[in-house]
Amino acid sequence: MFRKHVSAPIIAAGAVVKRGAKVALVRRNRYDGDISLPKGKLKPGETIEATAIREVEEEIGQRLEVQGFAGVTRYLAAGAPKVVFYFIMSADRDDGVQKDSEVAEVIWAAPEEAISRLSYREDQRLLERLHRLEVV
């Protein structure tokens, strides 16, 4: 019986970054300029929370404060199972200097607008849930 080759699972971490009544989204240079929540892959030996802080600070371009756990999204990335752990973080300004060349633009939007602008259903579901629970 032939078995389909499946790449190794991917663990990533990201955040729903709040500033006042708005949340941060990032438009990426890769993947046809899709809009997603800021996130990145885990490095060996790094904790999930540390990954979230490092990746999101790089993408948003400012120091952030972790406020809690937001949830998990799961999907297949190029055939490999991928899980992303999201935290809730807060920012105090929106004029950060991005250190990540992958990010074309940081977009600050109200939750309803942010949900409609997100390119991926998994991100939308997470934000919808957090908005329903009045977390954002």
Binding site: K4, A8, P9, T47, I48, G68, F69, V72, P81, F85
Partner: protein
Amino acid sequence: MPGRLIARLADAFFGSAERERLGQAIDETWSDFEDQIHRSAGKALQSPWAQTAIRNLLDAEQRLVSSRFEQGWICALTAQRAILGNPDNSKRIERAAIALRREADKITGWRSKAISDLICGPKGELRPDLMDDPERVIQAVALRDDFAHNNYFKIGLRRRHLRQLFRIMLIAILACLVASYFGKLPALYNDTRQLCLVILFGVLGACVSVSQGLLSSEVSAKIPAQQIGAFVIWMRPAVGAAAALASLAILDANNTINIFNFKNAEWSGVVGLLAFAAGYSERFIVGAIEKLSTAQKS
């Protein structure tokens, strides 16, 4: 895009209940895991139980994608046991132990006794110290899971044999068609169009027979029995086709010994009808095989 469409169509036609069931179990375990992490405000993510659960859940997903369901179940159940090891939710241990005591009745052999020894006192009551010694419950759950994996493995073995038989049957039918096309079979079988008609009517008859059988079958049958039966159902149209091919031999014999009181076996209506009837009667063949295997056991 066409690849995805083909994959969706294939899933719609051949999507397996096993895939869906494992997928649901993984989804439920992730939900449970997420709930536990929420309760700890994300702090538990680095704890050993959470790391084990994440690793095993991702492995389970990987096995699901590659259709290795048995290994997928092993990983998913290991993740569930890891979540059970969350020290901040010891109430779960108590609930798991209550359920396990009942489940032990359904488990056969030494595992049932071992589960009782682990979680019950001498009079069969739950041990009062389980909250302080959760490893006893986790070990008992592992024994239950081991019992399930064993069953799954046995089913897997039987299905592998059936699958091989199914392949041989398909090859034989295909070989008949090819030999017929090149005129290498006796006269009655050398008409390839007639042979195709016979096979198709045999498959049709078997499909009608299987759907009738499925409508009247017991839904309450145990899942292991249903898992074996599910593959037999896939085989039955091929059994019908084989029976229909055999019916041609009966028609051939009829030309010599006049079983049916007519001699024109080349009349396609008669051939089709007999093929359909032979296909429909596949249940007797499957039934006979089942009876034989039961008789061998006793």
